[in-house]
């Protein structure tokens, strides 16, 4: 246990700090998921040049071309967070598609897609989930029928964030209808401008349309758009899902949220007394602080595990479950601390933090459900983490009707 950096990494840390101090006037507004602004694209290009994002992606594909160094990546993330500086561009194209293409794409696909994606010129959305295929993603039904050089795609996707502004989609479609569930799926890239695609905003309980539904009617996609082998899309997608799941339950988000909650409780009063002087609220706050710290240190442990090349399995498997729940509990406490003020929303007078606590309280529930529900997470922890037996196979055909 030694949390000091080596001289090399200390130097790197100072470099990053200097960079952030000098460039502060150039910082674009904090990063968003959708289409990048010109300032954000300039910032992204600068970060790539310095190696503060796309660090280990080869230069030929628009990256920085540096050696992978997890600790430097950690230092970058830490210093950017400390300074409150906007990071590089995010979004599913950069975080999920790019790593997949680099691993499994053809040279042409890498050539064509990676660089513009990194630079924010090409925006992607993800077409995985369907209304009937959520937790059970492999039961997806959107079909891609072989028509010579093309596939003809029909069906529907859901939970497609940024679909309304994306240039491209990476999607899972069923190319082999007669193959076993997990075998007949292919991973396809398609322009959102292809005729036959309709995007409808999907409003959630927050009142906002953070997602979309995407409908496909006879959408023609060339066969060359497959990533990996035909029928092996399930394996390709799992390469990518790994990256998504790693992002959910981020302890740094919990840390930021906790700090905001502390400020709130110090600033707000009830009956003239600071909320921090309310013994019940204070106790709940400290209770959550322990959990926040535990998840942050767990994150450091995972980072060290990656550096050592031996990631502790359970410590990793629990991040999404515990992290999302913790974030939700932080928002819940903020709302309780604010009482009736915590109910306010939209543009109400007396609104605190622009309604962020309520929005997060609800959106977190979406995160607890999405990307593998809490129940699926627990199955995974039990089976993969603890080695407990899988659900036994069922006897006959699907149950229906039940015992009602």
């Amino acid at each position: 246990m030694d949390l000091a950096y080596s001289p090399e990494h200390k130097k790197f840390q100072e470099e990053v700090r200097d960079f952030l101090q000098q460039t502060q006037p150039q910082w674009p507004p904090s990063r968003t998921v959708g289409r990048a602004s010109p300032e954000a694209m300039r910032w992204q290009a600068l970060l790539i040049e310095r190696g503060y994002t796309a660090r280990s992606i080869p230069r030929e594909y628009g990256g920085h071309g540096g050696e992978p160094d997890l600790l430097k990546s950690h230092i970058i993330a830490e210093e950017f967070a400390r300074a409150g500086a906007p990071g590089g561009l995010a979004g599913q194209g950069i975080s999920m598609l790019v790593p997949t293409l680099l691993e499994l794409g053809t040279p042409e696909q890498k050539e064509r897609y990676v660089k513009p994606t990194l630079l924010g010129e090409m925006l992607w959305c993800q077409g995985y989930s369907e209304p009937g295929a959520g937790s059970d993603l492999a039961s997806l039904r959107t079909s891609a029928v072989d028509e010579g050089d093309d596939f003809l795609v029909n069906g529907q996707k859901i939970w497609t964030s940024t679909a309304h502004e994306a240039d491209m989609m990476f999607a899972l479609v069923r190319t082999e209808p007669d193959a076993p569930k997990h075998r007949g799926i292919s991973y396809l890239l398609l322009p959102m401008s292809t005729p036959g695609i309709e995007v409808r905003p999907l409003k959630t309980m927050t009142g906002h349309a953070e997602f979309n539904e995407v409908f496909f009617t006879d959408v023609r996609v060339p066969k060359s758009s497959i990533v990996g082998n035909r029928g092996e899309g399930w394996q390709v997608a799992n390469t990518t899902l790994k990256f998504e799941r790693g992002m959910l339950g981020d302890p740094n988000e919990a840390g930021r949220r906790f700090n905001d909650l502390v400020t709130l409780m110090q600033e707000e009063t009830l009956d003239g007394l600071s909320l921090m002087d309310n013994p019940l609220l204070r106790d709940s706050l400290v209770r959550l602080q322990a959990k926040v710290l535990a998840m942050q240190y767990n994150g450091m442990r995972l980072l060290s595990g990656e550096l050592r090349g031996e990631v502790p399995a359970i410590a990793r498997l629990i991040v999404k479950l515990q992290g999302c729940e913790l974030n939700h509990q932080l928002a819940a406490l903020a709302i309780d601390a604010l009482g009736e003020l915590g109910l306010l929303y939209d543009n109400s007078p007396r609104l605190r933090a622009e309604g962020a606590w309520q929005r997060k309280y609800m959106f977190d529930l979406g995160l607890i459900i999405g990307g593998g529900t809490a129940q699926i997470q627990k199955n995974i922890i039990a089976e993969r983490g603890l080695g407990m037996p899988r659900e036994p196979k069922l006897a006959a055909a699907p149950q229906s009707g039940g015992a009602r």
Binding site: S139, M205, D271, G272, L281, I369, L394, P398, G402
Partner: protein
């Protein structure tokens, strides 16, 4: 001895359910609240026509003069439908306050209009939830000055009943000079909330012959919101069970997974005893006045906790669909969230429940000396 509802009460709930099924279904709700918080006047008139707005009004003024229980049962069903009306303010708190502490003239003037549904009243008992941003009004010579936060009631309210810092209740006309109403918007668009500024506003003191009026009005409001949560939580549980018996994943109904079954069983196990607690609180309001405040605090605090937990779990059982707007489940989710905070959060209510039993008074005294923490 009979611990339960009467035939009449059950059939009243049933007819109300039938009415709301056709008059206040999900599509209606969506359209009504599309532009923000509302009081649905048409629906209100429907309730008035069924005699429900006058349940608590004495028979002398055209009402039914029933005990609180019956109004609470109505509120429960309104919660089941997340009905966008301010029943708690105009049909529970207003008639109780007026009947308890209004002068003959005041009663004669206002009570009949509560019965026929033509009068809306806003109610603000700042004390109940505690004062934020120094909200509160001071009464001097029947003039009110200050600021009220989180008044419940329709935009069309003609009257305001409010408590002042000294603990008295006052009646204020909406058109009295010096009043300024600002609409607040909460997550729950099915009820309206207001901030009201008062500058030298003329007000009529509501003074009961014996005792104070604030305590019973607070208690009734809390029991009503607890009932609303009971109804809303029951709806969420029912929807979760129904959804889990329709939705298939992994080639089986999700309701056949033990995890989902246990989530539903836990919801039912938590919620069902709340029903008896609520009934007893409503019964005690009239029959056991000594226990009125205690039970009102318990009912609302406990249903606040159980409701919150069910709102979350029922949403989870619905998976992604529960998170979307498509099924409208969030109307109930938010309704429960609203009821949790308004008229006293659970921890505040528990502190009051302790105080009325004489528990921990030394600590309370010390804290009050230091700044008013209650």
């Amino acid at each position: 001895m009979d611990f339960g509802l009467s035939e009449q009460q059950l059939s009243m709930q049933e007819s109300l359910r039938r009415y709301l099924q056709q008059a206040a279904g999900l599509e209606h709700l969506r359209s009504v609240v599309a532009d923000g918080p509302v009081h649905d006047a048409t629906l209100w008139q429907g309730l008035a026509d069924m005699g429900l707005t006058g349940l608590l009004v004495p028979q002398a003024y055209g009402g039914l003069g029933l005990p609180l229980m019956d109004a609470v049962l109505v509120q429960e069903v309104l919660g089941e439908f997340a009905a966008p009306v301010c029943f708690t303010a105009s049909a529970i708190l207003a008639p109780l306050a007026l009947a308890l502490a209004g002068s003959d003239a005041q009663q004669e003037k206002w009570l009949p209009r509560l019965v026929d549904g033509s009068l809306q009243v806003a109610v603000c008992i700042t004390d109940a939830g505690g004062s934020r941003e120094d909200a509160g009004v001071t009464a001097v010579n029947d003039k009110l000055n200050g600021r009220l936060m989180f008044a419940l009631g329709a935009a069309s309210a003609e009257l305001l009943i409010c408590s002042c810092r000294e603990g008295d209740l006052y009646l204020v006309h909406r058109d009295a000079p010096g009043l300024e109403w600002t609409s607040m918007r909460s997550v729950d668009d099915t009820r309206c909330l207001w901030e009201i500024k008062l500058r030298e506003v003329a007000a009529e003191l509501l003074l009961p012959e014996a005792g104070d009026a604030l305590a019973p009005v607070s208690a009734a409001g809390r029991i009503a919101l607890a009932a609303d949560t009971l109804g809303a939580a029951q709806t969420m549980l029912d929807k979760a069970v129904a959804y889990s018996c329709e939705r298939q994943q992994f080639d089986r109904l999700i309701g056949s997974f033990q995890a989902v079954k246990h989530m539903c069983a836990e919801m039912a196990a938590e919620l069902e005893p709340c029903r008896a607690l609520l009934w007893y609180a409503a019964y005690a309001y009239d029959a056991v006045p000594d226990k009125r405040t205690l039970l009102a605090c318990h009912a609302k605090a406990h249903l606040g906790e159980v409701g919150t937990s069910i709102a979350r779990t029922a949403t989870e059982v619905h998976g992604g669909m529960g998170f979307t707007d498509l099924l409208g489940l969030h109307y109930w989710f938010k309704r429960i969230g609203f009821n949790r905070q308004v008229l006293g959060s659970p921890d505040r209510l528990r502190a009051q429940a302790a105080r009325v039993q004489g528990w921990g008074v030394q600590a309370d005294r010390l804290m009050e000396q230091g700044g008013g923490y209650r």
